[in-house]
């Protein structure tokens, strides 16, 4: 791009350099103070230095709202991007990404994130710290599981997960009551009731930790070594409403099916603190050893119906 760009076109708001074979976006863009939309699809960007240095401090860094880098050669999300605090829409579809950096949470204004068509294998829980995210596309990747923290994305309206390697979803997904679109086709979702039969009994440390938490044994940071204080803070609550217990590393995994809109059955993964516990999704006959596949009318089904218009297929 010509060096004098910012001087000749100081009022430039939208720039489309898609399909021009660019191998780098240079410093000449940095001084464009009104540029809010930059489209650079189908180019040869991706090597280190594809984006100009000092992006965060430049006028462009403050003005940019929409950035489309789809159809390029990025193997990782360029760290320079993370300085774009005002960015609302980011597309890196059809690149060569193998993962998503946890620092993605720095893009505080992000509403639209398109990462379809890459080689992503897992999702960092930090993705859930994007408070305004409403459209998340992760289709056509190699994702094996969804972190339950994604349920904290309260603004999420559309979640695209088709053509991945998912076998189940976390039950917390039911908390996304504003979700209107959910695509799950092309995933090897389990279709039969599955119960994890290998239950590793809790260690002595875990049993002690559980007792401290459930009996509310008081302790101060000065009473225990730092690593144990940290360990105690990692307790998870058993979702069984009748249990009130906690677990650390030892838990029972159980897949139950939940009806969506009375038509589609999704396998949801529950973590329970012991084989005696039953998940909130079980029927009134509480036996957790029940191998029944029946979906009963319960709080989970109600939550599922509240997720309007879930789209599967």
């Amino acid at each position: 791009l010509p060096a004098g760009l910012a001087q000749w076109f100081p009022a430039l708001e939208v720039l489309d350099v898609s399909g021009t074979g660019l191998a780098e976006l240079g410093a000449e863009l940095l001084a464009l103070p009104r540029l809010h939309t930059l489209l650079a699809k189908n180019n040869r960007l991706g090597a280190p230095g594809s984006l100009p240095k000092g992006l965060g401090r430049a006028p462009l860094g403050r003005s940019l709202r929409v950035l489309n880098l789809s159809g390029n050669r990025f193997a990782e999300l360029p760290p320079a991007l993370l300085a774009l605090r005002g960015l609302r829409s980011l597309s890196l579809g059809g690149n060569r990404l193998h993962g998503i950096p946890p620092d993605i949470q720095e893009l505080r204004s992000l509403e639209f994130l398109y990462l379809g068509g890459n080689f992503i294998t897992s999702i960092p829980p930090e993705l859930a710290n994007l408070p305004s995210l409403s459209y998340l596309v992760l289709c056509d990747n190699k994702i094996q599981s969804i972190p339950p923290q994604l349920a904290q994305l309260h603004s999420l309206r559309s979640l695209s997960l088709h053509n991945n390697l998912l076998t189940y979803l976390p039950r917390e997904i039911l908390n996304l009551v504003h979700l209107e679109e959910l695509s799950l086709r092309g995933n090897p979702l389990v279709v039969r009731f599955v119960r994890d039969l290998t239950y590793n009994p809790p260690s002595l440390q875990e049993l002690a930790g559980r007792t401290i938490k459930t009996r509310n044994v008081p302790y101060a940071p000065s009473d225990l070594p730092e690593n144990l204080v940290r360990y105690l803070s990692l307790a998870s609550n058993c979702p069984n409403p009748k249990c009130g217990g906690v677990y650390f590393d030892s838990c029972v995994r159980q897949i139950k099916f939940v009806d969506f809109c009375g038509k589609y059955r999704i396998p949801l993964m529950h973590y329970l603190c012991s084989p005696e516990c039953s998940s909130p999704c079980s029927s009134a006959s509480q036996s957790s050893t029940s191998q029944s596949e029946s979906d009963s009318e319960d709080e989970a089904s109600v939550a599922a119906r509240r997720m309007q218009k879930v789209l599967l297929g």
Partner: protein, 204 residues
């Protein structure tokens, strides 16, 4: 004694002309599927002529009514963002023509599920339709899913349904279970028409 239907080769030089010829064809007692398909394919897509109907939605594909064919057919433009796709659906005993105006769309054909079907649906075939190509389907041919598999380009398609219908069945690929849905228009005749009541759009 029945006379065979006289099929002619039509060429539409513009979208307006396409609509005019369609009205003429559908005013007849009998309409030939081949004639309509050839006519649709003959129109060389000119974005200037249809841009006003091509309203995209960030979250899903949109259906934008162009002409209501005197009640004989509905002509509409569908706008597909990157990664947008439809559910597997039927066509409520109607004829369905689909012509690509921009980009590409993948069409996957499925067999109808067995009556007591409780297994994965069977894929019959799939193909990628290119610009200006026109596909045809009806319920006796099977069911299909249409999707824009591009992660970089949007797609626009022109659809003709005869007779018009506003509901269809969508199918769960994993079980074959079907579910009736009502279809709505994102815009009509170039005007955005948001739905007021709770709508259920076709799953995907």
């Amino acid at each position: 004694m029945e006379q065979p239907v006289q099929t002619e080769t039509w060429k539409a030089a513009s979208l307006e002309e396409l609509i005019r010829i369609l009205h003429r064809l559908f005013s007849e007692e009998k309409v030939s599927v081949e004639e309509v398909q050839e006519l649709m394919e003959s129109y060389e897509s000119n974005p200037e002529e249809w841009l006003q109907y091509a309203k995209f939605d960030q979250y899903r594909y949109t259906r934008n009514l162009v002409d209501s064919g005197n009640g004989k057919f509905n002509l509409m433009i569908l706008c597909w963002g990157e990664g947008h796709g439809s559910s597997i659906h039927d066509h409520t005993d109607s004829h369905c023509f689909m012509k690509i105006l921009q980009g590409n769309l993948k069409e996957t054909l499925f067999e109808w599920p067995e009556k007591k079907g409780n297994g994965e649906m069977t894929k019959k075939s799939e193909r990628v339709l290119r610009e200006n190509q026109c596909a045809y389907i009806n319920d006796s041919i099977g069911l299909h899913r249409v999707e824009n598999i591009s992660h970089t380009e949007s797609a626009v398609s022109l659809h003709l349904y005869s007779p018009p219908f506003d509901s269809c069945n969508t199918f769960d690929q994993r079980t074959g279970h079907k579910h009736k849905v009502k279809m709505t228009f994102y815009s009509q005749f170039g005007e955005r028409t948001p739905c007021v009541s709770t709508r259920y759009h076709a799953p995907h």
